[in-house]
């Protein structure tokens, strides 16, 4: 009895499953297919086609703008030619002006000193002291001047010589900097819009170094001016000392 019942239940379940899982017949007609194809065609024509046309237009506009307005080849070539022209016109002229002779000493010793001062060769620095001493004399021996006077004279000479040496170094540095500027200008004439920023950066870095060298010159000038001020101030101090000594001497004479 139980077996019969379970068999019936199994059969019923099997039939239900079969009915559920059985595929339903597709009912796509010709109209549906035509509608689907029309939709696809419409999408291709309107959505995709129009967007692609738009992209094409934008790309063409960008290309034309870049080639005709931002980086026009003719203008780039003209600018390169102008760089070469300006270089030919002014760089040589400036170089000629810069090389005008400035010397004017007539006597042997000043002439030698002047030649060394205007040599633009930092290698001559050690010989400057000898030429300087020949023109401006060496320090007096201890028996001929007070220690304070000798200190001040030595300091004056040292700072004057230091400033002169700095000027020679600066001259040589200026020459090298002019070579750097020349190299940058030459390269500018061969550069492209994309490589010009490299040259600008190099020029900025060189300008920074130039500024640093200018500061070194200013430092030398500051030392010089300070020494001049200190020198005249020391003379006042020495004058006060001399006045005190005179007063003391007078008092001693009067008390006798």
């Amino acid at each position: 009895m139980t077996n019969k019942l379970s068999m019936k239940v199994a059969l019923t379940l099997c039939l239900i499953f079969l009915l559920l899982l059985a595929p339903v017949a597709a009912r796509a007609g010709v109209t549906d297919i035509i509608s689907l194809l029309t939709t696809i065609t419409g999408t291709l024509n309107n959505s995709i086609g129009q967007v692609l046309d738009g992209i094409q237009t934008v790309n063409t506009t960008i290309r034309n703008f870049e080639q005709q307005a931002v980086w026009p080849i003719t203008l780039i070539d003209e600018t390169r030619a102008e760089v070469a022209q300006v270089r030919a016109q002014f760089s040589n002229l400036a170089a000629q002006v810069h090389s005008i002779e400035m010397s004017s000493a007539t006597l042997v010793n000043p002439k030698q000193l002047e030649t060394r001062l205007r040599s633009r060769q930092a290698g001559d620095l050690t010989q400057i002291s000898a030429s300087y001493t020949q023109v401006y004399q060496s320090l007096p021996p201890p028996e001929q001047a007070t220690p304070a006077q000798r200190n001040m004279m030595d300091m004056d000479d040292a700072l004057a010589l230091g400033a002169l040496k700095t000027a020679i170094i600066s001259d040589q540095a200026s020459e090298q900097m002019l070579t750097v500027a020349d190299g940058l200008e030459t390269q500018a004439g061969l550069s492209a819009p994309g490589s010009a920023s490299f040259l600008t950066t190099q020029a900025q870095a060189a300008a920074l170094q130039n500024q640093a060298m200018l500061q070194k010159l200013l430092a030398a000038e500051l030392r010089q001016e300070a020494a001049k001020l200190a020198h005249s101030n020391t003379l006042r101090k020495q004058s006060a000392d001399a006045t005190r000594n005179l007063r003391n001497g007078m008092q001693q004479i009067l008390t006798r």
């Binding site: 194809l37 200190n151 490299f198 200013l218 300070a226 001020l229």
Partner: protein, 276 residues
């Protein structure tokens, strides 16, 4: 086995076969309901002609509406790429600019070393000591400048040795002279820092790209602005030291005028006493 009647036989046979028949019937139903093969090929279905025409239309549209613009876009982008590679960012020009950066770096390094050449020349101990501090390029040496300065240029005048106006003038002059000397040491140190910064920027430029070079350019510009500011401070110090010098000359004249007035007054008083 004994069957009482044919009916009894049939009942027994049915009860025996009932479940098997049901199973076979279920299987037969499954076969009937199972989907049959689609008939979409060889023009056997009337829909095939429509589908074929539709697909041909789509294919045509893909060729004309999609492929042609895409080809055109590709061509435009290729032209743009060629233009950028050949005109705007040619590798040769970029490499040449990088090479120049290396070359200039070497030249500028030599130039920086020039300023390291010794320029000292003092011979006596006190001036030597002061000169060493002044040319040290070391900000720590600034603290020693005052002591070394006094050793060379002397200390302030004692109260008993000069009137207050003269002592004021001398003190102010010493102060400005020392400030100028200290500023000189400071400027040398700052200039060394700027040279090092410029060298580093040049070094970075050797490995830069067109897109990163403007960043270095901006940094170099910023350093240049900073350097200009330092130069201005040095020029200001120079103006101060020259102004104090000028003020001293003016003060000297004023002292002379005062001295002459005192002399005139004393002489007048002396002459009056004699006439009385």
């Amino acid at each position: 086995m004994n069957w009482k009647s044919p009916n009894h036989f049939l009942r027994c046979a049915w009860s025996f076969l009932k479940s098997k028949v049901a199973l076979i019937a279920a299987l037969a139903l499954l076969l009937v309901l199972a989907p049959t093969r689609a008939r979409a090929q060889f023009g056997l279905d009337p829909c095939c002609a429509i589908i074929s025409a539709g697909l041909n239309t789509i294919s045509g549209l893909l060729k004309n509406v999609v492929a042609q613009p895409l080809s055109s876009i590709q061509q435009i982008q290729q032209q743009a790429a060629d233009f950028e590679q050949q005109v705007v960012y040619p590798i040769a020009a970029i490499n040449s600019a990088r090479g120049l950066a290396g070359q200039l770096r070497g030249q500028l390094k030599q130039l920086s070393q020039l300023y390291r050449l010794p320029t000292n020349s003092a011979t006596l101990p006190a001036p030597q000591q002061l000169e060493q501090s002044l040319l040290s390029h070391d900000p720590k040496a600034i603290a020693q400048v005052a002591r070394d300065y006094v050793a060379v240029y002397g200390a302030a005048i004692a109260p008993a040795d000069a009137p207050p106006p003269v002592r004021d003038l001398v003190d102010m002059s010493d102060a400005e002279a020392q400030a100028a000397l200290k500023r000189a040491v400071q400027m040398d140190a700052l200039a060394d820092i700027e040279l090092a910064a410029a060298d580093q920027i040049n070094q970075q430029l050797q490995n830069a790209a067109p897109g990163s070079a403007p960043i270095l350019e901006a940094q170099a510009s910023a350093w240049l602005v900073r350097a200009n500011a330092y130069t201005q401070s040095a020029v200001a110090e120079l103006i101060r030291v020259r102004s104090i010098d000028l003020a001293n000359a003016g003060a000297q004249l004023k002292f002379s005028v005062g001295d002459i007035n005192t002399l005139r007054s004393n002489t007048g008083q002396a002459l009056q006493r004699r006439s009385q």
